[in-house]
Symmetry: C2
Subunit: 176 residues, 2 copies
DNA sequence: ACAGTAAACGGAGGAGCCTCCGGTTAGCAA
DNA sequence: TTGCTAACCGGAGGCTCCTCCGTTTACTGT
């Protein structure tokens, strides 16, 4: 990749993170303008709006995933899963755009997002294993995205209560 | 309301139902054209895309809700809830547009959709009561919308398994 | 140093959602 | 029937997302 292309790519990510965090209803044109590149350049680096958002948040999303093993050690299996889910929802809640992008990452099997999806399923898988849960990681992830998209913080907490119960009870049933 | 307005409204609904059912990626302009009215008229009757979709499906959605008491009688509490959720998902699955509109109906408290939302919470409430479940109907509904939006039929079935377990286990816990 | 080329650049433009506003018409009262 | 008014009608136009393509420029081999 050419040096100027790398420069522009990083500049775009920087500007986009700032814009997505501090403003709302950000247009891609505005981001391109603020980065001093044409709209076409933005679209070559990031083919869709979701792709840009995904790239912007990939780092933080991976941080979340990487925290899973530590949670497991310090909190124990059940609390670790719950804490991880809480963090997932809390993080998604801070960025409206992220919610929609997550749908693309999880639900649709869009190829460029494969990396993020793999990271997340891995983390969930790790958290589910010590519980003996039979839940498919992808299923749980899809549910979490649904929770993040629909309802406020309080509602989300109650929905997570329900999901936790479902995970544990499902596990208990198969353990019989 | 004037007679011609009523005529146009019904014509639009008719055309829209046909279009949403048989085609994909329907534009509102196309619907207006097929109904022989201007795009402005369509938007006066239905302020947003979601509003039109909601109006189109309101009837069938209400049918689903009205079926709840009968399910309860013939299947018993647990199977009735499960069957109702299955039907909800199955119906949502047939219409991609519906999924997005449901989000507006459920998650956002958009006023014109109040009617549909009330009907649905009522139905869910009725189904939850005999189970002694403490789940908030709105929470369950929000989860169902999430399930409908994310994942295919098989995945949805598994997610409903988990949710059922959660509802029943949550109930069991509070019953202790 | 320099020429060739592959890749990046940037903006014009197409499509869709939604708004706005001047023109038109249904319904009502006399 | 006729005149008034409130409500409806319809499409031009703005905004945004995304695509396409002619132009420019950074790297490579000699």
């Amino acid at each position: 990749m050419r040096a100027d292309a790398v420069r522009n790519r990083e500049l775009l990510l920087e500007v986009a993170l700032d814009a997505f965090t501090h403003e709302k209803d950000v247009t891609l044109g505005a981001i391109a303008k603020k980065a001093g590149v044409g709209i076409g350049t933005l679209y070559r680096h990031f083919p869709t709006r979701e792709a840009l958002i995904e790239a912007v948040y990939r780092t933080e999303l991976e941080k979340l995933c990487d925290a899973a093993p530590e949670l497991l050690e310090t909190l124990g299996p059940e609390a670790a899963l719950r804490e991880w889910m809480d963090r997932f929802i809390a993080y998604a809640a801070t960025k409206r755009d992220l919610k929609e992008a997550l749908q693309a990452v999880i639900a649709l099997g869009i190829n460029p997002f494969e990396q993020s999806r793999a990271k997340m399923t891995e983390a969930v898988s790790l958290l589910l294993k010590p519980l003996g849960a039979t839940t498919d990681p992808m299923d749980l992830l899809a549910l979490l995205v649904g929770v993040a998209q629909n309802g406020d913080q309080d509602q989300a907490r109650r929905m997570l209560d329900l999901i936790m119960a479902g995970v544990l009870h499902g596990a208990a049933r198969t353990a019989r």
